[in-house]
């Protein structure tokens, strides 16, 4: 069953003399309990997509089109009041900017308690406290953190605290936008393993926005690849990462740094830059940089093609041999 169904979804940022089409007609179904990794180049609209779906964007400077159904209700059509019941309590987000969310003048404990009280006014202090300590343990932090101020914590400790906070109200969907990027790999793996383990128990669906393909490979069931505000390919991680159909997926995989045998490590970049999202264009946004591009790619927007009912891509010239395809 779909827990979140994003339909024909677009977001544009409106400047004084420009319009940036940051998310462009995205269709994405997120199934309950099937963790999804969202990857794509910087500026490809990953954060904007989730910000748009949760209506966290400034309505004066941005325009959202399309629908986003959470458990059958369109988040976009909801009143603000209805929405406020869903946000944080049902769908919670740990942002890239997580370090800014804490109040500099309150201890972490006070801050967390205040938020909890907003949604659960009847809760007892002792219960809250116990809950907080458990959640901190989940993200590998000692309970002393509750008595500390944000500036006394390292970047990674703050990030872990915000992950704990996001689980506080037992949401159905947890969106992690680069939430573990600031952590060392041991801590990152421990936290993701812990979340993975409680997912079934809490019936939690995780959406992980990340630049780290290995995190998706190891911790997400499905992957969605974005480029220039559009969805390029989506499917089960094993399918997409082993046999990518979209040339961009292949190139993105290749640019992932590895420990090469010769000891240098590879840091390969994709030549060229992303198209300017302010300028309208025809065809496929990757055409300028793509090794497979044909005339058709520059003229005609690729529609969704299906390999099977869980795996689809948007490309006129899909790869046959996957990874090895040059």
């Amino acid at each position: 069953m779909s827990i979140l169904e994003i339909k024909d979804f677009s977001v544009s940022y409106l400047g004084d003399d420009y319009v940036v089409r940051a998310v462009d007609q995205v269709n994405l179904h997120i199934e309950e309990g099937v963790s999804l990794g969202i990857v794509g180049e910087s500026g490809s609209g990953k954060s904007t997509l989730m910000l748009g779906v949760l209506r966290l964007l400034n309505e004066r400077t941005s325009k959202t089109e399309g629908e986003a159904f959470f458990a059958g209700n369109d988040l976009i059509a909801m009143t603000r009041k209805e929405l406020s019941k869903v946000r944080w309590a049902e769908i919670s987000v740990v942002f890239q900017k997580a370090m800014n969310v804490f109040s500099p003048v309150h201890t972490i404990g006070t801050f967390l308690t205040d938020i909890y009280r907003v949604h659960r006014p009847a809760a007892k202090a002792k219960e809250i406290r116990k809950e907080q300590e458990e959640l901190l343990a989940l993200v590998n932090l000692p309970k002393q953190v509750l008595k500390m101020y944000p500036h006394e914590l390292s970047g990674g400790m703050l990030q872990r605290t915000s992950i704990a906070m996001s689980l506080m109200l037992r949401p159905k969907i947890l969106v992690m936008d680069e939430a573990t990027t600031a952590l060392d790999v041991i801590t990152q793996n421990q936290i993701l393993t812990e979340i993975l383990e409680i997912e079934d128990k809490l019936q939690l669906t995780r959406i992980l926005i990340t630049h780290d393909m290995s995190v998706v490979a190891n911790f997400c069931k499905k992957i969605a690849v974005f480029y220039a505000g559009r969805l390029m390919e989506v499917g089960f991680t094993e399918d997409v990462l082993i046999n990518p159909k979209h040339p961009y997926t292949r190139d993105l995989i290749k640019s992932y740094p590895t420990f090469a045998e010769d000891g240098t490590g590879t840091v390969v970049r994709i030549p060229g830059t992303m198209i300017d999202l302010k300028k309208p264009y025809e065809g496929c946004p990757y055409a300028e940089r793509c090794s497979q591009a044909t005339d058709r790619c520059r003229k005609e927007r690729p529609l969704e093609s299906f390999v099977n009912n869980s795996w689809s891509y948007y490309c006129h010239n899909p790869l046959e041999g996957g990874r090895a395809d040059e």
Binding site: G156, A217, G263, V267
Partner: protein, 354 residues
């Protein structure tokens, strides 16, 4: 100073002397000498609790050299960065920048220190004022340090540099406000700004953690190119071990405020000696789902600088720990006599290292 402290600083001095001897021909190639650096904080709510964020860090950095710093989150990497560029004063220890104590440089002229030592922060969103256009942010940094004689020249310098880092069309980025850029784009601006002043060394604290891999490569190449061309030394703090290995000449692995292992980047990554480094490297994943990660587990709670274990600071989590580890404080050893130092006396006895 306790006897242990004396012993460890003597050992560190010997290590330094050995290294110095190796480098004697390139004597004035050293830009930074850091000795027994300590930074202790007091917690606001519990003034009696001492947070030992840096607890005796020593190393040298050559001109144009890139030292990568990896390690547990909360182990003191950012603290080290802030202390190195003089944003915060050390509790103890010494930092010589170009053979001069940075405390002196700072006392004489803060602006001079800022020009010599720059920092790129972990979080680009906090770095900029959203009311000022990118172009003005960069131009005013130049103006403040008297670089470029006219506004027009400065503008051209800024446009050129925007172009160089692939923020195209450059005129367009010049006019944008910080909140109109994505995290990745903003971080490139941040790196650019620190490089504009042609500093002697920069501390880059997680400069690429918010960039996706394809752009990451671009930024790494840019940082590498600029640093090599200007002979700028770089302290590169990151959790991305593959990238750190790529850009760094040497890598230092930190844990609980101290360096556990330091050596040539390739040596440390392909032939890690310290049990902590081994665990760290085994936790690095691959983008191919067929190669599932086989991480070495480190047991127990993560460490706290408020409560540092006796003996080896890793002994409560180390899979090899013996009784001696829990009582004997460890110092850096150069077992192979090749500048690959490890803070574990027993490192060569662990079977893979033997």
């Amino acid at each position: 100073m306790s006897e242990k402290d004396i012993k460890s600083s003597v050992q560190e001095m010997i290590n330094r002397q050995t290294k110095k001897a190796d480098q004697i021909i390139q004597a004035d190639q050293t830009i930074l000498q850091v000795t027994s650096l300590k930074k202790y904080y007091r917690q606001k709510n519990k003034r009696n609790v001492l947070v030992r964020s840096l607890d005796g860090v020593s190393f040298e950095l050559g001109r144009g050299e890139c030292l990568g710093i990896i390690g547990e989150s909360g182990c003191g990497k950012s603290t080290l960065g802030r202390v190195l560029i003089g944003l915060e004063d050390a509790t103890a220890g010494e930092i010589l920048l170009d053979y001069e104590d940075i405390k002196e440089v700072k006392k004489r002229n803060r602006k001079e220190l800022r020009r010599k030592a720059q920092m790129v922060f972990q979080n680009p969103f906090d770095t900029f004022d959203n009311r000022i256009r990118i172009g003005d942010i960069l131009s005013s940094a130049l103006k403040l340090h008297n670089i470029g004689s006219t506004a027009k020249i400065r503008k051209q310098m800024v446009l050129d540099s925007l172009k160089k880092v692939g923020l195209l069309p450059e005129e367009d980025y010049y006019k944008r406000y910080p909140n109109e850029l994505s995290g990745g784009q903003l971080q490139r601006i941040s790196i650019l700004r620190s490089m504009l002043l042609k500093p002697e060394f920069i501390v880059a604290d997680e400069p690429v953690s918010m960039l996706d891999v394809s752009v990451r490569a671009e930024v790494i190449h840019m940082l590498d190119d600029m640093a090599k061309k200007e002979n700028t030394a770089v302290v590169f703090i990151s959790h991305d071990i593959a990238t750190t290995r790529y850009i760094a000449d040497r890598i230092a692995v930190m844990y609980l405020g101290r360096i556990m292992e330091i050596g040539k980047a390739n040596e440390v990554i392909t032939n890690p000696l310290h049990p902590y480094t081994k665990a760290l490297i085994s936790n690095c994943g691959d983008a191919d789902p067929r190669n599932k990660m086989k991480p070495l587990q480190v047991k127990g709670e993560p460490p706290s600088p408020m409560n540092i274990p006796e003996g080896c600071v890793f002994s409560d989590r180390c899979p090899y720990a013996t009784q001696r580890c829990r009582t004997e404080e460890q110092t850096l050893h150069d077992f192979k006599e090749n500048g690959h130092l490890v803070r574990c006396r027993f490192a060569m006895q662990h079977k893979e290292n033997g």
